[in-house]
Structures are given as C-alpha cells and as structure tokens.
Subunit: 147 residues, 2 copies
DNA sequence: TTCGAATCATTCAAGCTGTAATTATGTTGG
DNA sequence: CCAACATAATTACAGCTTGAATGATTCGAA
C-alpha cells in the first residue's frame, strides 16, 4: 500500500517545502533590493533576465511565468522608458524587447545590488555547483510530464 | 573589482533561477491536483500543511507566506467547512485552526494525489537527501540576515 | 497553393500576495 | 500595579499571476 503517510512521501513534501521556502527567500531579497531602485520585484526580475534582445515569450520562459504576465510587466517597464518593444526582424507576430540606455544602466546597478548578500551565500562554491546539478536534473527529468 | 558580470555572480543568478523554476513547477503541480478537488493552489497548500491543530501564524510559517495571507486562505476553507477557527486554549489573541471531518478526509485525498508523479520524481532517494541537506543549509545560514 | 493547426502577443476576469495600519491581548521592567 | 512594548489576527489596498478568449501571423501537409 502506497499512501501519503509513507516516509518517502513525507520526505518529498518536506523537500517541496524547502524549495518553496528558499524561492520565497530569494523573492524577498529581490523585492528588497528592487525597492531601492524604485522597481517592484517582478519588474526587477524582468530587467535581470533581459541580458539581450528577446521576445515576450522568451522573457516569460526566463522568468518562469505565463506570457500574459510579461505583457503586464513590460508595460510597466516601457512606461518608465527602460524597455522598448521593437518589431521582430523575421516574425511579424512577435516583438523584440530591447533595453534603452537608461534601462541598461539601471540593470547594471540592479545586478550589483543583487550580488551582495545573496540568499545563497551560505553555500560554498562546491555546494552551489552540486545544488545546481541536482536542480537541473530535477527540472529536466520532469520536462515531459505535461502533455 | 567585484562586479555582477563576474562568473561567480552569474552562477549565483542561474542558481536562483533554477530554484524559482523548480518552485514554479511544484506550484503548477499543486494547482493541477488541487483543481481536481475543487481547491485553489493556496487552499491546497494550507490544507497540506495542516497536519494538526495550529495557529494562523504557525500556518503562515509553514506556508512561507505572510500571516495576512493565511487569513484570506483560511476564510475560504472555512466557507467550505473544511476548517474551523477555535479559540486558542491559552492565548486569547490567537486562533486554533482545526480540520473538520470533511477537511481531514479531503486532506487525505489531496496528499495521495500530490504523492503521485511529484516534480521531484526525477531524483533518486539519495539525491533527494542530498538536495534536502543543501537547501536546509542555504536556508538556515541565511536566517540572521534580516534584522 | 490553400486550408487547418500552431504560435505570438494581448486583454480581461478572478484570484493570490505582501505591506501598512488597526485592534486586541499578552509580557515585562520599573 | 501599570505603562511600554511585543505579538496574534485582521483589514484595506495595491500590485502580481494565472487561465481562457481573441486577433494576427506563421507553418505544414495535402
């Protein structure tokens, strides 16, 4: 009988809780630093992920959120003249997002702020690498689950 | 000069992205299973964490969210007669949350649903244990950061 | 070529979440 | 004792997020 009271199931629930807890902590960290720049957490996350020109969908994937959400966030960033929506060079359905000079400068400041006192600073480089591998495996192995 | 373009800083950003990505995946999993029981993701999370009587604040900690949030969620669960707010035996400020028989039964079904095809099923038990240790260390070592 | 299916982005409604302020109660030091 | 401070829960509010529906465009197969 495989029930949810099994030790294995309990351990897995705990693990999910830890992942969520750490993600929460990371989110707080971003929110806190973003606020000093007049950005919300999701705006900062979008800015952080915009390492180069990309489409809305690409940004959504990097942010791990729905595309409709990026529409919302990019609207805000565009109103602040940090980002522009250009026509995509080869696909007329898509937009190409590009940072303005102002957006690019703010992104640099943001990255610097985010780099100090990271929520992961309690791990050694080796441990971080180990964690990276485990997370990657968990994610890729669960890729085909949906559909 | 320690800038955000450092390999170390980039690796850390990637790691944060992976943690968030996995947390997102876990959230989707919960949302999907919860929906089959007529629950939203946060309602299901609350139910999952209610392994016994506890206060609002305790629930908030287990859910890694703000207490004001649990007020919102518990309101919904109470309307569905899954949870009751009892006076706390020793502290008149606090509420003691207890599952109804119906809530307890639904929780059991939920736990069973959540146990199958978990987003972490791509890891071996050893890897899960390793991941558990790393996450715990990352979390506890960052405890004193705020305040 | 052309029709049908898939993809990109957007909009809207509904629900989730954090912050700050409020009320009620508990705790502690003088 | 009691005044000051801390804590439990709630409320109001603003912002975030998802999911479904829509319109425009692209892709693929007959």
């Amino acid at each position: 009988m495989t029930t949810s009271a099994e030790p294995h199931a309990i351990a897995e629930r705990q693990l999910c809780g830890l992942v969520n807890g750490l993600a929460q902590r990371i989110g707080e960290h971003v929110r806190e630093r973003a606020a000093t720049l007049g950005l919300t957490a999701s705006q900062a996350t979008a800015l952080r992920e915009m390492s180069g020109p990309m489409t809305m969908r690409e940004l959504a994937e990097r942010m791990s959120c729905e595309p409709s959400n990026t529409t919302f966030v990019v609207d805000k960033l565009e109103k602040q003249s940090l980002v522009e929506r250009h026509p995509h060079p080869t696909d007329r359905r898509a937009k190409q997002l590009v940072l303005t000079a102002e957006g690019s400068a703010l992104r640099e400041r943001l990255l610097e702020l985010l780099a100090v006192d990271s929520p992961l600073s309690g791990l050694t480089p080796q441990e971080k690498q180990l964690l990276h591998g485990l997370l990657e495996q968990a994610i890729v192995s669960g890729l085909g689950e949906h559909r």
